[in-house]
Every structure is written in C-alpha cells, then in structure tokens.
Amino acid sequence: MIPKIKTGIAAFDDLTGGGLPDNTITLIYGPPKTGTSVFCYHFLQQAISDDEFCLYLMTDYNLFQLEEKMMQFNWFIHEYLQKEMLYVLDIASGSIGATQKETATFKISSPQNPTEMVSKIIEDLQSIYQKTHRFRSVLDSTTTLFSFNSPILIVRVLKSYVMRIKVAGGTGIIAYTEGAADSQIETMLKATVDNIIHLDGEKIDVEAMTGCDNVSANYKITDEGFCII
C-alpha cells in the first residue's frame, strides 16, 4: 500500500484512496481558469493543517497576493509563515525589481533565469532537509516559465526540479495551462511527472496515478474551493 498525501480536497482524496502517492510529483493541468491554482491553494492549506513544511514556487503572483487568494477561501497563512514552515520562491518579482528583502524562507528569482531558480530551490531544500524528510512542494505555474524561455529548456529544468524534490523526500504538484507549449512539449512534460490530473472546468480527471485507477468526477469552484459533485 502506497502512503498517500491528502490534497485537502476531501471528496477527491476519497476518490483516489487517500490523495496523491507519497514522494511523487503530480502534474495538474487544464485550460485557463479551470482551477489549477485553487488546487495548489488546497494543497498548501492541507500542509498547514497537517503541520508539514511546504516549498511554494510562484511565477505569476507574489506572496502578498497568495495570502489574499488564500483568504478568499478563509485560509490564513500568516501564522504558518511566522513558524517558518512555508518556503516561498517568488519567481514573479525578480525581473521587475522587487524591493523585498530575501530571508531564510523567502527568496526571489526571475522566470528567464532557471539556473538561479534551481540554485535557490536547492538552498531551500538544504534547509528543509535539516528539519524534515517529508514535505510538500508546489509550482504554480510552469506556464510563465514556458513563455519566457525556450520550452525544451524548461522541460530540462523541470526534470532537474522533479529529481531534486523527490530525492529530498518531497511530494509535489506542478501546475500547467494547457496549450502554453506545443503538444510535443506537453508529452515531454507529462513524461517528467508521476501522476497527471486534468481539469476542464467541469470534470476533474485522474489521467495517470501510481497505484490508482483512472477516476473522474464533476466539480465546481465555490467560496470553499473545490467542490466535488
């Protein structure tokens, strides 16, 4: 029996026999506005509830905006941040001259500089690994990375990222907007992850998951986040 990590969407966890398989990486993708980011917020919220560390990479909003978005669902990250359990890599602000100071758990990078991005991820992993061998990681989303770089370079970067997270013991999700790269790149992207979940605005569809049948369910997004109908 593969240990499972709760996604924070209870009905979805029931459907998949407990959530995402421990120490695997899941691609969560779909057309724009289908809820890939909301899925990420759930995953983070569950880390907070379970008192687990989380490495959160954001490419098109900043930490302040994450806090706001979480608050819309009545989830609060302030205390979790203060406990230094949330490691944030803000890949959105680096190129626009962010003035915030980097700290042990807050770093800034730029979408067009994957070398720097991975170097900062590794710094965070070093620090997380001192404290725990089990943590979560979120990358929301790869779409921005694809638009600022040659797509094949980003596939290479993601391979390196997936390997790093898994070796350090993490369980991660990677968000991607369908159509941001061509189909050949999408195939390569799917090959770098362990599990694949598709969202189309109405239906959540497990396309591939270790030790789990392909299941699907209808959903809508409400004030409480994902609601499986």
């Binding site: 070398t115 590794i122 001192q130 040659s150 350090a168």
Partner: protein
C-alpha cells in the same frame, strides 16, 4: 608567457598563474550552481585591479539584475559601466518587455554571433563573459551554437580577448557536452557533493591546454559580499563523552593535536578540540574532533559549516549514550551530511553489533555502522573508505 589572473582563489595556482591572452574558458555547472558568479568575479576583478575592458553578453539575466548581483557580492559595476570599461550585450530585456540596456542589443538569438563579433573587436586584449550557453543551445539549436562559439573563439584569439562561457548543464547529451569541451582551451566543472540534498560545491579543472589539468577538487562557497571563497574540507568526528573520539582522530590522522587535561577523572578527556590533518587516497582534509560534553555544544555548529562528512563515534558497550549520539548528529547538522557511525570498542566484552545498534538508535535504514577498535586501529580504514565512498559517489 603573459598570464591574466582569474582572481578565483586556487584557480590561478592550478593554471600556473593565470590564463594566457586570447584563450577561451568554459565553466560547466551542474544545475543549481551559479557559474555566473565565477564569470562576474573574473571580469570585475580584472576591470578594477588590471584596468581591463570587457563585456557581458546575457540571455538570462537582464542588465539591471546583473547590477544587483554585483552589488550583492560587493563589486562595483556602476563606475566601469559609466566609464565604458564594461558594457552589456543585452539579448533578454526586449523579450521581457523592458527597455534594453547595453552597447549592443540582440532581438533574435540567432543573430548572436554577428553582433558579438564586432564587440570582441571593441575590447581587444580584454575579457568577454557569455551567459548562458544553455539558453543559446535550446533557442538556436546545438549546431548553430557550436558554429557561433567557433566564430567567437576565432575572433577572441585574433584580438587577444579572453572569452568566458558560462554553461548550465541540464540534461544535454554527453556528446554535445564533449563537443563543447573540444571547442575551448580550458574547462572548469562546477558540481556538488550530496547527501539527498546538495550540500557542498566543488570546482575542478578538467581541461587546460597551457598547463596540466589537475583533477583536484576545490571546495568553495559563495559569500556575500566576497564571491567565490575556497576552503579546506573538514571531517568532523563527533559523539558522546568518552566514546573514543580522540583516539579515533589520532588513528586516522598524522600528528593530531588534542587539547585535553588530566582532570580529576579517571581518564584524560578532551575539553577543546582534536585537530589533525589527513591525506588519504589523494584526498586531503582537516579533521576536527569535537568535545563530547554538553557545555561545548556551541562549538559544533561553526565546525559543521565547512564539514564534508562526519564520523559519529559511539561506545558500543554503552547503549545508554546512544540518545546523546543522535542529539549530536542533529547539532552538527549532519542530517544532510554523509556520515558513518563508528561503533568503537567493538572488541570489548558486552559490545553490541551493528544491527543491534541500528535498532537501539532507531536509525534510518541506509546509514553505515562500522565496528572499530580505535585503540587497536581495527576497522579504521573501513570506516574511512565507507565515508569517502559516500562523499564521492556522485
């Protein structure tokens, strides 16, 4: 031979003083290691110490970001930029929707060579930094990149420009990486030594056609400010009080020095440090034995900073001290360091075997426990081999 310094510590020694004019250098870095700091440090130091001129070609960091990196490391970029001693070739800002900044601007990476060539002429005798070859490969293709590098190298040799390529080695085919190596006069590899996570960085000269490549691994860290700082790797020997750490340090090193006293106790005990140096199978390291008493715990953290591996010495006959041993693993931040448990005094009656120790300590599965008698020097080589295998398995 007229040599130009790189100002990277130890690197100039390996190069026999520096780099001849007109030579090309490739810094090949494993993902996650910042090769650009090497490039920036070389050009910055040369500009300030040798009044050189040069340029930075960038397709990954915008010039404004590069300025911030220079600031972070304490290098002045503003003055040479204003005086024209350094200029940018900017092929990234346009793409990011930011006004480009530089003497030359590239809209399409495919035109890189034709724009960089006249720039090389502009800085005859100077230094060019090209960041990043990886982006070039994935944007214009491997063949075009190789063609481009050949042209740049030709121009650099002609105008005596020292051209420095920074290359992040993502999962490119070995053949391509080999081709790149063949194109340049010297190659420095930057990689890491890891225990689940990357924990120490190393550079190594793998090719140099004016001096013998040494294959010697130099440990470094990046300090802000300061840049590349090298250090002599340290092996930590830690463990509970009276487990035999001092004896073990003396067993693995030549002429170790111990700060100890014959207290009102039955046996001498280390109150400061055991310090020794070892050369083992071409590998050189300082060995630090830490005191076991809790009142010296504050020494552990700084010692652990430059450590590349840890021996945790325990007394196999005293299971009641195992909890303390685990606590010390924690304090040395040895979780993410290669480590070997030295089960000392294995020859004494009542000594527990490795399996029993593993069970009693509730240790993670893959840790090695080596039965040793430090006094009789039994098992000492096996402990060393095991740790070095862990350190260099990459």
């Amino acid at each position: 031979m007229d040599l130009k310094k790189t100002y990277i510590p130890r690197l100039d020694d390996i190069f026999g003083g520096g780099v001849p004019k007109g030579k090309s250098m490739l810094f090949q870095a494993m993902p996650g290691i910042m090769s650009d700091v090497f490039g920036y440090q070389i050009i910055s130091e040369r500009v300030h110490s040798d009044s050189e001129i040069g340029f930075i070609y960038t397709n990954t960091r915008m010039p404004v970001e590069i300025e911030r990196v220079f600031d972070k490391y304490g290098w002045d970029l503003k003055t040479p930029l204003n005086s024209g001693q350094i200029f940018f070739i900017d092929s990234i800002s346009g793409m990011m929707g930011v006004p480009p900044m530089g003497k030359y601007i590239i809209d399409d990476l495919a035109n890189s060579a034709e724009i960089v060539l006249p720039a090389i002429e502009d800085i005859a005798g100077g230094t060019a930094v090209i960041e990043n070859v990886a982006t070039l490969i994935d944007s214009i293709g491997a063949d075009n990149t190789i063609k481009c590098i050949k042209m740049l190298n030709g121009a650099a040799a002609k105008h005596e420009v020292n051209i420095i390529y920074l290359f992040t080695r993502w999962d490119y085919e070995d053949r391509l990486v080999e081709q790149l190596k063949n194109l340049v006069d010297c190659e420095v590899q930057l990689f890491s030594i890891e225990e689940k996570v990357m924990y120490r960085q190393v550079f190594m000269v793998v090719k140099s056609n004016w001096t013998r490549a040494s294959n010697c691994k130099i440990f470094f860290e990046l300090t802000e400010p300061g840049g590349v700082k090298v250090f002599i790797p340290k092996l930590l020997v830690t463990g509970p009080y009276n487990a035999g750490k001092t004896t073990f340090v003396h067993a693995i090193t030549e002429k170790a020095v111990s700060v100890e006293r014959q207290a009102f106790e039955l046996f001498p005990t280390t109150v400061g440090l055991d310090i020794g140096h070892m050369d083992y199978k071409g590998f050189s390291a300082d060995v630090f034995g830490t005191p076991g008493q809790e009142r010296f715990d504050l020494l552990l953290e700084p010692l652990a900073r430059e450590a590349i591996g840890t021996f945790i010495v325990i007394d196999s006959t005293k299971p009641d001290t195992f909890a303390r041993a685990k606590e010390m693993i924690n304090m040395c931040r040895a979780e993410a360091l290669p480590k070997v448990i030295v089960a000392n005094k294995h020859d004494l009656p009542g000594a527990l075997g490795p399996d029993e120790i593993k069970k009693r300590m509730a240790l993670w599965e893959d840790v090695s426990i080596i039965p040793v008698s430090a006094r009789k020097k039994e098992g000492v080589d096996k402990a060393l081999d095991t740790l070095f295998d862990l350190i260099y398995r990459v």
